[in-house]
């Protein structure tokens, strides 16, 4: 009896305010989807950071003949003696885990496999490639200190911290995430206001009913519940839509860039994000309904 009555009231309310209900659903769906995308980017970035921080190395490039780098000017290629001294110096540093030497042939092979510019490939010869020491650190955080201590050693052309390269990628993803979260916050505000307005309209439409309910002694829960449930249902539908959007984003965007990412975003994370955003969406709707109700429905 009770449940029947309340659900029929909810249904009437949603139908009477169909356009507003749709507005709420769409706003919640888009807002929660953006929030979800932001969270997904966030977890992708932290996964990548974890993945790469194990692998980042310092590359200590050595002078070749005619190298344009400042330290190599007015001198020839690095000598065998210098290489030996350098290797000992690097090995002697406390933060270094291991050192690997990459000769010109290896460097050329790597270059061939990663470079796609055919013109560049055709004019580059193995002798143009710099030799280098690949230095793996015990603690990746020390990279900057180690790099600066190796810069300026005789025979060193420059030191590249791979972390710096990754940082620019992460920086871009951070920006993307912040934009998504920023828009999500605006959408949440819009959703809250819309729900407030919907509840107000709904309360106005049903003022006769609620007036009589008050008069005959219906309890506050009985009077308020249909309004809160309206918000809850709108929020739930919006949340389900945002879940669908997030699955689409995962399949079509995250999967397609996965090849570059090396640390794929798993479905378990996506499921967690969807659950979280849906819960937030529903919570916002219910709270907004409840708060506006207090203002427009005297009980």
């Amino acid at each position: 009896m009770r449940a029947n009555f309340i659900f029929s009231e909810v249904w009437i309310g949603l139908r009477r305010n169909l356009t507003m209900t749709i507005a709420v659903i769409v706003t919640v769906a888009v807002g929660m989807a953006l929030l979800g995308v932001g969270l997904m980017i966030n977890s992708q970035v932290s996964k990548l950071t974890g993945f790469w921080s194990d692998k980042v190395e310092l590359s200590v490039y050595l002078c070749t003949k005619g190298s344009p780098f400042e330290p190599c000017k007015n001198r020839g290629a690095v000598t065998q003696d210098e290489k030996g001294t350098l290797e000992q110096t690097i090995k002697g540093l406390p933060d270094v885990e291991r050192v690997q030497f990459e000769n010109q042939a290896q460097a050329f092979k790597n270059f061939q496999s990663t470079e796609s510019n055919t013109l560049l490939l055709s004019v580059t010869k193995p002798e143009d490639m710099p030799e280098s020491f690949r230095v793996k650190l015990k603690d990746p955080e020390k990279a900057t200190a180690v790099a600066s201590s190796l810069k300026g050693q005789p025979g060193v052309s420059n030191v590249v911290n791979e972390r710096d390269l990754l940082q620019s990628v992460f920086g871009f993803m951070d920006t993307l995430r912040n934009v998504a979260l920023g828009i999500a916050i605006l959408m949440v505000i819009a959703a809250t206001l819309l729900i407030g307005n919907t509840v107000r309209l709904s309360a106005y439409n049903r003022r006769r009913e609620t007036g009589i309910m008050r008069l005959v002694g219906a309890s506050n829960i009985y009077i308020q519940l249909p309004f809160v449930l309206e918000g809850l249902i709108a929020g739930l539908i919006g949340g389900v839509l945002s879940g669908v959007i997030l699955i689409i984003v995962k399949v079509f965007i995250f999967e397609s860039i996965q090849t570059y990412m090396a640390a794929p975003l798993g479905w378990d994370t996506v499921a967690g994000v969807i659950t979280g955003t849906m819960a937030i969406g529903v919570l916002i709707c219910v709270l907004a309904s409840f708060v506006t109700l207090r203002r427009y429905l005297r009980v």
């Binding site: 009896m1 009770r2 009555f5 006769r208 009913e209 007036g211 009589i212 309910m213 008050r214 008069l215 005959v216 002694g217 219906a218 309890s219 506050n220 009985y222 009077i223």
Partner: protein, 229 residues
């Protein structure tokens, strides 16, 4: 049943009190007319009994409960024991007679079986048998007021408050309305009716409480509306 002791009510932004040190006792089963010109405090009196308003001073007891000690949470339970009828009927236009009466029971969570049993009984009591499936717009004013009375009485309240129930109804039809109120009163329900209608008050010969500028100027059993009018 209704006990007002030295009650004063001043609305915000008004310097003159709507009720000024009013004390009244209404016993169980009584029929009381509340008379007086517009603005004399009749509606305020009824609103105070329903706890729609709070008095500025004085105490009100309704059905054995001290209203000042009644938490907001319990106000709905007080109102279940009080039926209300108004000048403007306040029916739901999209529900028929039966549904309008049943609504009052549905919203306080009564079981459907109970509703099916008592609603037709009350519709018969107010004299609307055979019209249960009419919509309010298909009914005359008098019939609409009978629906409102059925709704007010369906939960068998201890008190029935009627705020100018005949205000929108012609004199001939009003007699029928008063007969229904009298019938409800005879079941043991206390009836408190605010009215302007001198003919009705005179014909019923019930207790009359007259208010003027928020003060009780007359309280007379088996009274009439008053010579001044």
């Amino acid at each position: 049943m209704i006990h007002l002791d030295n009650v004063t009510k001043v609305y915000a932004n008004q310097n003159r009190p709507a009720l000024d040190h009013v004390s009244v006792d209404v016993d169980k089963g009584e029929f009381v007319f509340l008379v007086g010109p517009s603005g004399s405090g009749k509606s305020t009196f009824l609103r105070l009994v329903l706890k729609e308003e709070r008095p500025n001073s004085g105490s009100i007891h309704v059905a054995g409960k001290d209203l000042s000690k009644l938490s907001n949470f319990k106000v709905p339970h007080l109102r279940r024991r009080i039926g209300c009828v108004f000048q403007d009927f306040r029916l739901l236009p999209n529900k028929n007679v039966y549904e309008n009466v049943a609504f009052a029971l549905e919203v306080i969570g009564k079981p459907r079986r109970f509703i099916r049993k008592v609603v037709p009984e009350v519709i018969e009591l107010v004299g609307l048998e055979g019209k249960a499936h009419r919509m309010p717009e298909e009914l005359s004013g008098g019939e609409q007021q009978r629906v409102a009375m059925a709704r007010a009485f369906v939960n068998r309240p201890m008190i029935l408050l009627a705020d100018e129930p005949t205000g929108n109804i012609d004199p001939a039809t009003s007699i029928g309305i008063m007969k229904v109120l009298d019938r409800i009163n005879r079941t043991g329900t206390t009836v408190l009716m605010a009215t302007h209608d001198a003919a009705i008050v005179d014909s019923m010969r019930k207790r009359v409480v007259e208010l003027e500028d928020g003060k009780i100027v007359r309280d007379q059993s088996r009274g009439v509306y008053g010579q001044a009018y």
